[in-house]
């Protein structure tokens, strides 16, 4: 099967995109975790068994 070899510039661009996406996803995970705690409040720990 034919393949496409990325140029150095394209590899560099892909690394840049991957890094940015990783950082954004990590920050969103933290942000949504914090928002969940804020929206639900301390009651999240006070649920009937």
């Amino acid at each position: 099967m034919d393949h496409v070899e990325l140029t150095e510039q394209q590899k560099k661009a892909r690394r840049s995109r991957s890094l940015a996406l990783g950082v954004v996803l990590a920050l969103l995970a933290v942000l949504f975790y914090v928002v969940t705690i804020i929206k639900v409040g301390p009651g999240i720990f006070n649920r009937p068994l």
């Binding site: 099967m1 393949h3 496409v4 070899e5 990325l6 840049s16 995109r17 928002v35 929206k39």
Partner: protein, 315 residues
């Protein structure tokens, strides 16, 4: 891009995924300079609004509004790629420069639109999410797809898209639209024509080449200059309205009046500029000052609101 049989290379079927654009190019699609103005004016609306919002929720609100604004910028670049390539000012954008395919930009813009509106709706309130959705629709569809190429009044009406952020910021706190937030909207709405027509005057060749019916190209320099003075005067009046309505202080009113008077003065310099002037120095000065004006007026509003909250808290 070289073809090879090396096992560590991408399969040809995936070649559509090979992009030259890096993270910076995707960030450029969000029109960061426009976004910074959106963030700032939305923040002022949010902080001026009566009531309280949790700082983290407030941060998410501003982030969502910023991403929504960026999404509409990306959709604008997707639709306008054919004319962007014809103008010096926009020819280096990621699509005309060939660094990111148009389809990818469309997907990027649509995804961010849905994501930003959904986030604002789920974390803040449905009114602000609805307003953000309408703003994106207004900028991407009403302005970009319809008005921009069809009428010289494109930015008069289209300017509403850029004026919505303080209303959204206000609605994030109060879950309502009020006369005060509409007054903030009016400042940006009335400011936009003088700001863009100053740019259109010294970039009229660019717009003419792209076939965009900006006022200088359609109605001529003289008519544009008349309109600039009119809108600058209306902007100056709208700038002091918050003080007249009583939701900003007297000090703010004086500052806004001085800034507004200077805005009118710069617009009159443009009006006095000879028709056919190639250097267009007064128009360039008005364009630069218009940016300073909006930033200064909203900074003064912000400081005024923070000082008022500080004292009303009894500290």
């Amino acid at each position: 891009m070289a073809m090879t049989n090396e096992p560590d290379a991408l399969a040809v079927a995936d070649s559509a995924l090979v992009l030259d654009g890096d993270a910076g190019d995707f960030f450029a699609l969000l029109k960061p300079r426009v976004m910074s103005l959106v963030v700032f004016t939305a923040l002022v609306g949010l902080l001026m609004a009566p009531g309280e919002i949790h700082p983290v929720i407030g941060f998410i609100a501003i982030l969502s509004i910023a991403v929504g604004a960026g999404a509409s910028g990306a959709l604008n670049m997707w639709y306008d790629a054919d004319i962007d390539i014809l103008m010096d000012r926009t020819a280096k954008r990621p699509i005309p420069a060939g660094r990111i395919p148009a389809d990818t930009v469309l997907a990027f813009g649509l995804f961010l639109s849905v994501f930003s509106v959904a986030t604002l709706g789920l974390t803040v309130n449905l009114l602000s999410a609805g307003l953000l959705a309408f703003t994106i629709f207004f900028y991407a569809v009403v302005y970009t797809m319809w008005l921009k190429r069809s009428t010289p009044h494109n930015i008069v009406i289209g300017g509403a898209a850029g004026a919505f952020p303080p209303i959204i910021g206000w609605a994030c706190v109060t879950n309502s639209i009020s006369l005060e937030s509409i007054a903030l909207f009016a400042i940006i709405f009335l400011w936009t024509p003088a700001h863009f027509w100053a740019l259109a005057l010294f970039k009229s060749d660019d717009y003419g080449r792209a076939g965009i019916p900006m006022l200088p190209n359609v109605a001529g320099e003289r008519a544009t200059k008349n309109q600039i003075v009119l809108y600058a005067a209306l902007t100056a009046v709208s700038g002091v309205v918050p003080a007249i309505m009583g939701f900003a202080g007297v000090t703010y009113g004086v500052i806004a009046a001085v800034l507004g008077a200077a805005f009118v003065w710069y617009s009159v310099q443009v009006w006095r500029m000879a028709d056919g002037d190639k250097k267009m120095v007064p128009a360039k000065k008005l364009f630069a000052y218009s940016l300073l004006y909006l930033f200064a007026v909203f900074s003064a509003l912000l400081i005024d609101a923070l000082v008022a909250k500080f004292f009303s808290a009894g500290v």
